[in-house]
């Protein structure tokens, strides 16, 4: 925690009416319309919606990769020391590890790019590799790891420069169902240990409810934000919570919002 004074009552991320239009020569395509929600520091907010609803675009806007065409986006609160280069970590659906680097060297990539002191970074990377459960695999190449282990390495990489915000774009979407459940629990543990703010994009409704302190629901065609739901389930969350009545009612509400009855 940075303990910035901005934390007092002010959200860490504030989106008000954020809009994004993609223009090709022939037509305009509304990718995100009127996204309005807050994320407090230390929260894990899920963004759920069908494919093509603009959730990846929204994430990339927050990451600073796309400019937005309307509305306001504030990160870090007024007058805070949020550095967009250093304070964002990303995890994608594919692990995107460099095939020619060992796990440790892969995890160190952001530190190298930012020019951080490498001795310290190396220490930190080892600690993170431990934390994501890859101890003993530091010197392996990506092809020697399973899909789940590769994604663990990608998570460690997103944390190595100690960013305040982690953006995850369907990070477990390419994994089998069982590994995915396991990674959900791991992510919650990592989140609680690292105290980071996480924006988690998924199309899995159960996953969104299970992980999130809050769920933002986006619908497709036309892309728009349907609702924000606070998830009031006890922590630490356990797998048997998925059979709770309250879990079910949250999920039902989201199904309803997305037009699946």
């Amino acid at each position: 925690m940075t303990g910035a004074p901005a934390a007092r009552g002010e959200p860490f991320i504030r989106l008000v009416g954020v809009k994004k239009v993609f223009r090709t020569r022939r037509q305009e395509f509304l990718a995100v319309s009127d996204a309005t929600f807050d994320v407090n520091e230390g929260e894990l907010v899920s963004i759920v919606g069908p494919s093509g609803c603009g959730k990846t675009t929204l994430l990339k806007i927050v990451a600073g990769l796309h400019p937005h065409d309307g509305g306001t986006l504030e990160i870090g609160g007024a007058g805070s020391d949020f550095d967009p280069a250093r304070d964002v970590g990303m995890v994608f659906q594919q692990p995107l590890l460099l095939k020619w680097r060992r796990v440790l060297e892969n995890v160190l990539l952001p530190a190298e790019i930012l020019g951080l002191p490498m001795g310290e970074a190396r220490e930190r990377a080892r600690g993170l590799i431990d934390m994501v459960g890859l101890a003993g695999h530091e010197q392996k190449y990506p092809y020697e790891l399973s899909g789940g282990m590769q994604q663990r390495a990608a998570i460690a990489r997103s944390l190595v420069h100690d960013p305040r915000l982690i953006l995850m774009d369907e990070p477990f979407g390419a994994l089998d169902a069982l590994t995915r459940e396991r990674m959900n629990l791991e992510l919650l543990r990592i989140w609680e240990q690292s105290r980071k703010t996480i924006l988690f994009v998924t199309h899995g409704i159960a996953e969104a409810v299970f992980l999130g302190t809050r769920v933002v629901v986006l619908t497709a065609g036309p892309a728009r934000m349907a609702d924000r739901i606070d998830i009031d389930l006890p922590r630490p969350r356990t797998l048997d919570m998925k059979t709770h009545e309250r879990f079910g009612s949250y999920a039902r509400r989201i199904y309803h919002l997305l037009g699946v009855e």
């Binding site: 990339k60 990451a63 600073g64 990769l65 967009p84 280069a85 250093r86 964002v88 990303m90 994608f92 594919q94 995107l96 460099l98 095939k99 020619w100 990539l109 952001p110 190298e112 790019i113 930012l114 190449y141 990506p142 092809y143 420069h161």
Partner: protein, 258 residues
């Protein structure tokens, strides 16, 4: 793979040797049993013994080796260099890449006589011919390798405000190495062919030149020996490239060709 030879490696190399010996055996039997005349097909031992004839084997082998290696080295430098230029300057890429594709369609062998007109005959000319045949595949595969960068990966480093140079050095270039080597492996065969063509058309030394000379006297054994020596030079170059690839490219990333 760790140091030392695994059982699998030993078995693979044993198989390589056995297959080659089998070919020599079939060759031997074909000549002996089939009673093929010596001027049509010389036996393995006659072929080997031709090395003791008065032909300047060593000199000619050195000349051909110099042509193949020289042309090949030039092809790697120019091929990879141009590909880098193409990837840095999009206008150059857009302008010249279509041209490269057309040039690739030219049967380069047919250019041999022209190149000799331009450069006179000799080692340097055959180096140019070997180069001109073998550099295009290297250029094309390298350019492709430099283009094959995962867009999400670029996004990932762009959030960290990576410079263009960092992206190139840390992601693009190492990522293209498997492609570069795949092009280089194809180019070995072409460089050998280029040197041979040059020597056939006009030359006063080299193994292919020697083939032309001894053909007149129907010394089949010497002709076959020259072919074998040219092949060995090619194999040596191929093994060097393969060894280099093993050094710099991680196993999983290697592109399997031949």
């Amino acid at each position: 793979m760790g140091p030392g030879l695994s059982a699998q490696t030993i078995w693979r190399w044993t198989a390589v040797v056995l297959v080659h010996l089998a070919v020599v055996l079939v060759w031997y039997l074909a000549v002996k049993v089939g009673e093929v005349p010596k001027f049509v097909l010389a036996s393995p031992e006659e072929t080997l013994l031709s090395l003791f004839d008065t032909y300047p084997w060593f000199h000619n082998t050195m000349v051909t080796t110099a042509e193949i290696f020289g042309g090949y080295f030039l092809a790697v430098v120019v091929g990879v260099g141009l590909a880098l230029l193409f990837s840095w300057f999009h206008t150059v890429d857009n302008l010249l890449m279509p041209l490269v594709v057309s040039l690739n369609m030219i049967p380069k062998v047919a250019l041999g006589p022209l190149i000799i007109v331009w450069f006179d005959y000799g080692i340097q000319t055959n180096i140019v011919i070997a180069f001109s045949i073998s550099f295009l595949p290297i250029l094309i595969t390298t350019a492709r390798g430099l283009r094959e960068v995962e867009p999400d990966l670029v996004d990932l480093v762009r959030t960290l405000r990576a410079t263009q140079w960092q992206i190139f050095v840390k992601i693009q270039l190492p990522g293209s190495l498997p492609y570069i080597f795949s092009g280089m492996k194809v180019a070995v065969v072409l460089a050998v062919a280029g040197a041979v063509v040059g020597e056939f058309i006009a030359s006063d030394s080299g193994l292919a030149y020697l083939i032309g000379q001894v053909q007149v006297t129907l010394d089949t054994a010497a002709m076959m020996m020259a072919v074998i020596l040219i092949t060995l030079v090619g194999v040596a170059l191929y093994l060097i490239v393969l060894g280099l690839e093993r050094l710099v490219v991680v196993r999983d990333a290697r592109v399997e060709t031949v």
